[in-house]
Point group: C2
Chain length 337, copies 2
DNA sequence: GCTAAACTTGAAATCGATTTCAATCATACT
DNA sequence: AGTATGATTGAAATCGATTTCAAGTTTAGC
């Protein structure tokens, strides 16, 4: 059913019907009510593509998805969806071919220039991330989930990664640990750098220097947690505590500790960052896992909100949110023997 | 840059330019090459919304996303993306408000009637799923990831859940187990029903009857695995083996077994279905987990392909794929003591 | 009763592409 | 040379909405 046809059935002009449905004020209440109820009854719904062409709005926010299994992705997007379901805005997932930076840049360019999306959300930036300059020059509103250090203006929402690791490391120091290892996230990502800073800072505050051999970068997975923890614990001067990048990493760390006949918490303390996944909870691990916690889903919801504000015209340089993380102490951290 | 403007710069009509870019045969090779290279140089790209309006194609496939944390979601979508990145087709994520069936039906209706998508993919159907009749009556191509039993025609791709559980249960019988418990997926979903059938069938083939008290339905999570396994193992007549719904569930099952001072494999055998997640591998668990395996990512890629075929006009009733699953025996299954 | 102001409504232009139909040009054949 | 054929190109209609501008209708004020 098209507007023309629908309007004719109502004995009104397309103009009036369009105005009635879009909530313009110059339509009488009586007409508006009639149009609304008839639209419902007859099932008329504007062709979104015609609307988009005419208004220039795409009605969608683009989210770039890397190729690797992104453990955070579902939660984040699900959080976004929660905010967007009342906003008549869709989420567009775009695969990143990205065998190199140029490919990725091209993917963004295509997305924006073909007017598929009104705004873009980007994850896990690096300090000097070329995507930011690119999106800036394309003139499309965008939000960074995470942070960057480029001089280019960008709206961002990030969690306090530095503070998180500083506090968890500090907690381990408080318990009496002196040799602490960290299994960080992907090398080069800003969040990994911030976490490393937090790690170093906590050491400095105690007059210590973080040992580069006690820090490693890798993806978040059970397997990498296991491998690196094992490597740390088999050394001559093994750490008595490990800071893990995610609960998934912590699973592997637990496994490594057990495989050496040791006990988590008693022989080796473990603390991790928890993004709060419904299918794996730190509290239920054995022993329960001490964590710094921040909800990925909540971040998704808020990022959607901020992106809507960007689209509505709010200035990017006034959108900066740094979320604190909670420190939750459980059984996996204790004084060294 | 619009078509008009771009065509003028080339000294051609919009018609010819459009045809050159869309690959129509009636354009000379020389012209086509010039148009293509100039489009690249000047950065002309058709406004996707105008194209969509004119052609009636939305250039997107809709994927419904439930509210709960969908552990499979990212992998599946990532698999889809792999196929779609060369197809100029986007993935549209639509949140399901769904406090009830009607809400959900309305969400689909909105999506389809506003012409946002050319086709829809649906997950985890129930045997009599009202969404199938609804999508049929809306006349939109759709693919079911999973299966249903309605008489309404529907294209589907599913894994052999019945066969998977039948084989894993059979394997446990072969090892000498006689009391086997199963932690199944969500009640009412077709895949859970099929798995239960597989479980019963394996029993029947041995002249046994599956004990209803040894079967439970729940979501896939570490926590539910733990809770149900514990409940099973603390009974008077405890099972000597457990069939788990997912690797995540198996994590919880392992934990429960350990918490009772028992050893996985030796005291209690465990086998699970593995959808292959990059961040948690069955092989790396301790002891390594026996599984039936099927790649969620591969399913996503294939579903995307089949959906493109549906859009291209292939009949829904000739698209039925039942994927076999691999049985991979590792250390978590052994003869009972 | 007349005019101004405030409400409502509609006609037509517009968004930026695709595609039908017609026209032109070059080539081949008798 | 003249015509039929095939290969290229372009003008204009079209997709289905929104929105500008103009016009018609009430209401209010004096």
């Amino acid at each position: 059913m098209k507007l023309r046809e629908f309007a004719k059935q109502l004995g009104l002009s397309p103009t009036t019907v369009s105005r009635a449905l879009s909530g313009y004020p110059e339509v009488s209440e009586a007409t508006r009510a009639r149009v609304a109820s008839e639209a419902m009854r007859l099932g008329y719904r504007p062709d979104i593509n015609a609307v988009r062409l005419k208004t220039g709005r795409a009605g969608a926010i683009g989210v770039m998805m890397g190729r690797s299994g992104e453990i955070h992705f579902a939660e984040f997007v699900s959080g976004m969806a929660q905010r967007l379901e009342t906003a008549d805005t869709d989420i567009l997932i775009t695969p990143i071919t990205a065998h190199n930076d140029d490919d990725e840049i091209q993917a963004y360019r295509r997305l924006v220039e073909s007017r598929r999306v009104d705004a873009v959300i980007i994850h896990s930036p690096r300090p000097q991330d070329p995507r930011i300059e690119m999106l800036n020059s394309l003139g499309v509103p965008f939000l960074i989930h995470g942070r960057s250090e480029t001089e280019h203006v960008h709206a961002w929402l990030d969690i306090d990664n530095e503070g998180a690791v500083r506090r968890s490391t500090d907690h381990l120091f408080d318990l009496g640990h002196r040799r602490i290892a960290m299994i960080n996230g992907l090398r080069g990502k800003t969040y990994s750098i911030h976490r490393e800073q937090g790690f170093r800072l906590a050491h400095q505050e105690r007059g210590l220097t973080a040992d580069p051999n006690m820090m490693v970068c890798d993806k978040f997975s059970d397997e990498s947690g296991f491998r690196h923890a094992l490597s740390f614990l088999e050394r001559a001067n093994a750490p008595t505590a490990i800071v893990a990048g995610s609960t998934m990493t912590a699973l592997g760390v637990y496994r490594a500790i057990r495989s050496l006949g040791m006990t988590v918490g008693r022989d080796v303390s473990v603390i991790a960052h928890d993004d709060v996944f419904p299918y794996l909870t730190a509290e239920n691990m054995v022993p329960s896992l001490s964590t710094t916690r921040s909800s990925m889903r909540a971040a998704g919801t808020r990022c959607a909100e901020l992106t809507l504000q960007l689209i509505a015209g709010r200035a990017a340089d006034e959108i900066h949110e740094l979320w604190p993380v909670e420190l939750i102490l459980r059984e996996s951290t204790a004084a060294p023997r």
